[in-house]
Amino acid sequence: MRHMFFKTVGATCLTAALAFSASIPGATTGKVSIKSAGALAFGADGVLFIGDSVGGAVVAVDTRDTRASAKGASIDIKGVNEKAAALLGTTPDQILINDVKVNPISKNVYLSVSRGKGPDAVPVILRVDASGKLAEFSLDKVQFASAPIADGPASNPSGRGGDPRNDTITEIAYVNGNVIIAGLSNQEFASDLRSIPFPFKGETASTGIKMYHGSHGRYETQSPVRTFIPYMIGNTQYVLAAYTCTPLVKIPVSELKPGAKVEGTTIAELGAGNRPLDMISYKKDNHDYLLLANSARGVMKLDAANLEQYKPIVAPSDVAGIPYTTLTDLKGVKHLTKLDDGNALLLVDNGGSVDLRAMPLP
């Protein structure tokens, strides 16, 4: 992630110096019609990727939010769901905050929100600026491009088909010119990972990458990836990924080719009943760490120094793998993202009231 970040900043300075050219070649200007706003990710030059699971697409939006800032705001918004409800004219129980991401250039915070919880819920993108003010990031007049992730409804003369499968996007990241999308289907289990070159070309849904999980060299499952981050190990670009069946694995990005069969290498087992929600990587005192928000085990800090040295876990009795500590004082963390080089941003549910707050990286 840190490598990506430096690349991003470099590219931005260059763009800013050269011209105010469009960040999304071939983009349309106008109103973005999305049916839902879920997973978010930032690319280069302030491009925001929005996962629209209901609409079956990923939409790239030029935020034009490219004024560089090294430091994020000291964010501490109590009841951010109540504030979002007031802004959108509904009650707090009708607000869902689906994802939180920080623009790595401006350090402004973007939230994907549903106004309403039923099938007619309205997707909204909100933004928290440097003063900590919550406002709408309007999608009414922006430059955008979209890529379908689901195959269109099959034209089927027989009338069979039941209802179409929904692919729920659980994570998006921009890595070396590709948008990598993890999803989970509401029907068959073996969902694909997708890697779509950006800028998007054409309208065809990309071919998926068949993700397998091999447990201890013996049992092999076609298994969906739930969350992941780009990560450099040595000179090789990897993604660190968590499957739905828990283990943390590393996968070289060079293997993520359409139609490929890919199996991750297990580097940590995170324990029973535990589900990784979000991950970030960072450097502190010249040492590499990972921070992982989990459903059952709070937030874990993992030592990521020399990640290449840990041998793969190949037996249940193996105690190898990344050493970690659990930050016991952090409870109810639903989303975790990097705010700036010194701080993380947390979305914390305190039993109904949801807070958005910055925290120094541990």
Binding site: A86, T90, N98, P119, P157, G162
Partner: protein, 353 residues
């Protein structure tokens, strides 16, 4: 929508009104927009305490300042409109008024209609189930309301499901897909080895859906729902089409072709992963699934003709334990049970006479 008037504060002749979904400043002559924008004189708040002003746009209609909220007036929302004329001090040119949106619905109408698998015997590695509701539901609270109870000791099973923030609904929020924790099903993983599968062979369970789950109108269900089942041995055999029993219909009839599987298959996948083909292509007809998802029937639109047909199924068709037609859910690479078939589909021919 109900006409919504709440308490209306009156300062001088200025009244704040909520009319046809817009907030208006009546009795004040709106001319040029002030330097700070219309929001500097008139704002509406839809929450208590330090909250941002309601999103919307301003318009002057016949010298009346009108605020159009970005979203329709919300049920159960309390609004506070605040007006302060440019340059005014306390007193005459200020007004504040409160309004209530329409009352929220309170009448429970929605129920759980059914759960698949419909069988009352679940292999201990059962992968998923589907809950069908009679009307659209709310997202975001599913896992608080679904419980697996060990009926032998009446205690809840600890974290049996894959609790996803992104709940797996169909397009209309009427069918929820719930996965048992794959980490507890798949062999060789720490969760499977330490806490074991959520469903244990020989034990009795209740799948309970609470009544206080909210539908899309924000109202709880009519009643709770329970499904009893018993755990059976895990099933790691692919559901190979060679084990299917096919009963061919008679030529000239529109009788159903009947396919019987040796075990229950995934109800939703059965609706779209099997097709009937003749030499010209796929033929039209209706699919029905019965007998705890062990029977698949196809009734053609047009009468059967004499000849050869084929049943073609996607190899990704799963049984209720996630085994495909050509591979088990988790392949044991040391004791390979089945050969991998490299095609995407498997066909079974049948003749109509």
């Amino acid at each position: 929508m109900a006409v919504l008037f709440g308490t209306v504060a009156i300062a001088a002749n200025i009244t704040l009104q909520l009319d046809k979904g817009t907030f208006q400043v009546a009795g004040w002559n709106a001319t040029a927009e002030p330097a700070g924008g219309w929001a500097s004189v008139f704002s509406v708040y839809a929450g208590k305490g330090d909250v941002p002003a309601l999103l919307g746009s301003y318009e002057v209609e016949n010298h009346v300042l009108v605020f159009h909220p970005r979203f329709p007036i919300g049920a159960g929302v309390h609004y506070r409109a605040v007006f302060s004329a440019p340059g005014s001090n306390a007193g005459a040119d200020k007004a504040e008024a409160e309004f209530d949106g329409p009352a929220r619905a309170t009448n429970a109408l929605t129920r759980v209609e059914r759960i698949y698998p419909s069988t009352d015997v679940f292999p201990s590695n059962t992968l998923r189930f589907y809950i069908y509701f009679s009307a659209p539901m709310s997202r975001g609270e599913a896992y608080q309301h679904i419980h697996l109870i060990d009926a032998d000791n009446n205690k809840p099973v600890d974290i049996p499901f894959l609790e996803l923030e992104q709940e797996l609904w169909d397009q209309n929020n009427q069918r929820l897909t719930v996965l048992f924790d794959p980490g507890r099903i798949k062999r060789g993983l720490v969760p499977t080895d330490t806490i074991g599968p959520p469903v244990v062979e020989g034990k009795h369970y209740k799948l309970v859906v609470d009544a206080d789950w909210h539908d899309a109108r924000g109202v709880h269900l009519v009643e709770a729902f329970e499904k009893d089942f018993r755990g059976s041995p895990s099933d790691r055999k692919p559901a190979e089409p060679k084990t299917w029993q096919v009963t061919a219909p008679k030529a000239g009839s529109t009788d159903a072709l009947v396919v019987v599987f040796p075990k229950p298959m995934d109800y939703v996948l059965l609706q779209r992963m099997i097709g009937i083909f003749d030499s010209h292509g796929e033929i039209a007809g209706k699919i029905a699934v019965d007998r705890n998802e062990t029977e698949w029937r196809f009734t053609p639109r047009d009468a059967w003709k004499s000849g050869t047909y084929r049943i073609t199924a996607d190899n990704t068709l799963e049984d209720i334990a996630g085994n495909h037609l050509d591979r088990p859910f988790d392949v044991d690479k040391f004791e390979t049970i089945t050969k991998h078939i490299s095609t995407d589909t498997t066909s079974v021919p049948f003749s109509v006479r």
